[in-house]
Amino acid sequence: MSAKDDIVICRCEDVTHGEIAGAVDSGLRSVEEIKRVLRCGMGPCQGRTCSRLIARIIAERTGSPVSEISFPTVRPPSRPVEIGTLAGKRHEKNR
């Protein structure tokens, strides 16, 4: 246990420092792998807030420089978009 354990790192998915540190200690070495296990970076902000913080936690615990930690692929859309907007005003049948 450390004083940092309860600090929320991913605010969209409520993932804490303690959970991420645990994932790194279990052998996960990239932001992408940790994202797939803990969901951090899968919420509305798509990791814009937490990815760098996660990379720093990996760096701290493994001794690798942050520049060598690999980041997840950036996926579209760049911000959440309503399905109705994407479908267009007339939801013509797509058959």
Binding site: R36, R75, I83
Partner: protein, 381 residues
């Protein structure tokens, strides 16, 4: 990294990790799994996570039914929650051809002991998905014991359980060549050196094609891009995976609450491609809002793509390779590898370990194409 092993498995997806686990359970523990990136970074980690038993061929239905029985106990057996949820599958028929095929499918499925219901469109809405727009739907079939699981957590659970039994899993280790001495397999060459082994299992999804080619073997597999999207999480409002072959869609609400789904674009050309397209985002949104108009104001947060490793009959390639000793295939899953992985991996492991497999995998050998014994699976989305 071990330099010699009894068995090398190429591919750290659900199939490769599950084969390693079942082999270890059968006593073959000196196995090395080699993965070019990280666990489930290929097809497994990109798939929709559905687990369906409603198939058109007896073979697929049996494999899927036995896999569901395995999935039911898997979290406990492997000691990790894989988020298995039996929310059912609702399959929608829109055309005469659908209705004829579904009627046949239900007879076959029931003869195998699967509990599947035929529903009118009104029953589908009343009893299964109240928010569903059934306009144009002719009938539906529903199996409550179909469901879904989390592909990444499932792969990790198999990998961790295999490691506990002595299996070594090496990530970020691309295999560049399979080594042989005449017809006898001798190991693999990787970017981190060679591993000697008398048995190599090719479980590399679409990448199994270039890998087999290093031995001069041409696998009848073509990669096809398939796209998928996920929305923001919502309070649970439907349980089943909803699919239609003729309308072209599959989608479900994940345990976490987000709606996740995609469709296969019939115009998609074959080839290695994992990029996302705007066309997919627009067409998928139209399909979703047509079937569930209430999704209109729900936001898409992410889209991605993966590849189906499609064979000419949409059935996997399993077992030994003609002309070689010790070269096994476990690929060509054609978009439904995750859901049949537990049973298929067990059968391949039994075969490799010299046991009599519970089900004969002979009909799924790649030689079926040379022999002309091909019965295509029709229920592919």
């Amino acid at each position: 990294m071990r330099r010699t092993a009894d068995c090398v498995i190429v591919g750290g997806g659900v199939v490769g990790c599950a084969i390693a686990y079942y082999l270890a359970r059968l006593g073959i523990r000196n196995t090395v799994v080699l993965e070019r990136r990280f666990l489930a970074s290929g097809g497994t980690g990109r798939c929709g996570g559905g687990i369906r038993q409603q198939w058109s061929t007896e073979e697929n239905a049996r494999l899927a039914m036995r896999s569901v029985r395995a999935f039911e106990d898997l979290s406990e057996e492997l000691g990790a929650d894989i988020e298995f949820l039996q929310g059912g599958y609702l399959v929608l028929a829109y055309t005469d051809e659908d209705v004829q095929q579904f009627t046949k499918n239900v007879v076959l499925q029931r003869s195998l002991g699967l509990e599947v219901q035929e529903l009118t469109p009104d029953e589908a809405r009343r009893d299964v998905v109240p928010m569903l727009n059934v306009e144009g739907v002719r009938m539906a079939t529903y199996c409550a014991k179909d469901g879904s699981a989390n592909p990444f957590l499932t792969t990790k659970a198999y990998a961790d359980a295999a490691r506990r039994l002595g299996v070594e899993i090496e990530l970020y280790t691309p295999v560049t060549r399979i080594l042989s001495d005449g017809p006898r397999i001798t190991g693999v060459e990787t970017q981190r050196g060679t591993v000697s082994a008398p048995i190599v299992v090719n479980a590399a999804g679409s990448y199994s094609v270039p890998l087999a080619r290093t031995l001069g073997v041409e696998l009848p597999i073509t990669p096809y891009r398939r796209e998928i999207l996920v929305t923001e999480p919502l309070e649970r409002f439907f349980d089943p995976m909803i699919i239609s072959f003729s309308f072209g869609i599959y989608f479900r609400q994940a345990k976490h609450g987000s709606v996740i789904g995609g469709f296969a674009d019939p115009e998609e050309p074959g080839g290695f491609n994992e990029t996302s397209s705007l066309d997919f985002l627009v067409t998928m949104s139209k399909k979703l809002v047509h079937l569930i108009p209430a999704l209109h104001s729900v936001k898409v947060v992410r889209q991605w793509a993966g590849m189906y490793d499609l064979t000419p009959d949409a059935r996997p390639l399993l077992g030994p390779t003609d002309g070689f000793e010790g070269f096994y295939q476990a690929s060509g899953f054609s978009g439904h590898g995750f859901m049949i992985a537990p049973e298929v991996a067990k059968l391949v492991a039994q075969h490799i370990a010299g046991r009599e497999p519970d089900i004969d995998i002979g009909p799924l050998n790649a030689r079926r194409f040379a022999e002309g014994k091909v019965k295509a699976e029709r229920s592919v989305v």
